[in-house]
Assembly symmetry: C2
Homo-oligomer: 178 residues x 2
């Protein structure tokens, strides 16, 4: 059991890192910027997270858990009677509703795995966890394809600035489900 004067210190640093990425992007993430945001000294961020990769791993894992909760909270996903494509398209609407900062943080950290091997296992956790959840309603191959398609749809919205079209998402997701 760890001994700490400020038992929340580590968690506060992770929360601050997510806020920094939301405000300035990964490019603005540094031990110093996080320390300032968390209101702790520089040495505290370098002590708890030796490298920025370590910090990003913790931040991505936490962001993933948040989005996993939005998936699990949609209980109808598990209901065999529900329209899976419609439920997933509605989940997308939920993600894009209101402030997109959280979704941008999630994807920015997720995509950072492209160049940061340390993040890959955590990125894989998200993709596999989501797919496992969907596989309960379909089969592993279809589930994996659904995750890929959802990623692609979300990215096109985020990258090109196009609006999220729930009807379109439902239509093409339904085709993959077959």
């Amino acid at each position: 059991m760890a001994r700490r004067y400020d038992p929340e210190r580590r968690q506060r640093i992770i929360d601050a890192a997510i806020r920094v990425v939301g405000e300035k992007g990964i490019a603005g993430l540094s031990h110093r910027s996080v320390a300032a945001e968390a209101d702790v000294p520089l040495g505290s961020t370098t002590y708890h997270f030796k490298t920025l990769d370590d910090l990003m791993v913790a931040a991505l894992r936490q962001a993933n858990e948040g989005y996993a909760r939005t998936v699990l909270a949609r209980g109808a996903l598990q209901d065999p009677e529900s329209d899976l494509a419609a439920e997933l398209a509605a989940l997308g609407s939920e993600w894009f509703a209101g402030d997109r900062t959280g979704l941008e943080v999630e994807y920015e950290l997720y995509l950072a795995a492209l160049r940061r091997p340390a993040l890959r296992p955590v990125a894989a956790e998200w993709a596999e966890g989501f797919a496992d959840c969907l596989a309960l309603r379909t089969d592993p191959v279809t589930a994996r394809a659904l995750v890929a398609l959802i990623d692609g749809i979300c990215l096109q919205v985020l990258l090109t600035g196009a609006p999220y079209d729930e009807g379109y998402a439902r239509e093409v997701l339904a085709r993959v489900i077959g």
Copy 2:
């Protein structure tokens, strides 16, 4: 008509930027690193590209043109007799064959649009150009979905380290085509 002592200077800088991104990622891209790679003085990179965003725009546009050529070179894509899903899945195999550096550079710059508005029009050019090309064989909605699915499949391979499975890609692409 521009007057330049080294008429290729600007182009050499763009080529160097793409090599730098391939070797060190966007995080390693700076006016100085590109100047060193292109073997030109620092002032030359800052003169031709006032900001790094400008340089990334030029690099992404050039990378896009390269991949657009790989699409157009696959003439069977336009042949109504060919199996569109199979052709697209084979195109993916071509992209992942051998050295993946080029594909990583393409996606890293493409995904950078998430946080860099200057890149969004160029990212949109790629997505729309590819979709327009596919729309000749299907319809605009299906074409857009195919681009999204291909992006999603490629990203899952690049992000999680999973192998590219052409048979799987063909199967799920075919479902979207319907």
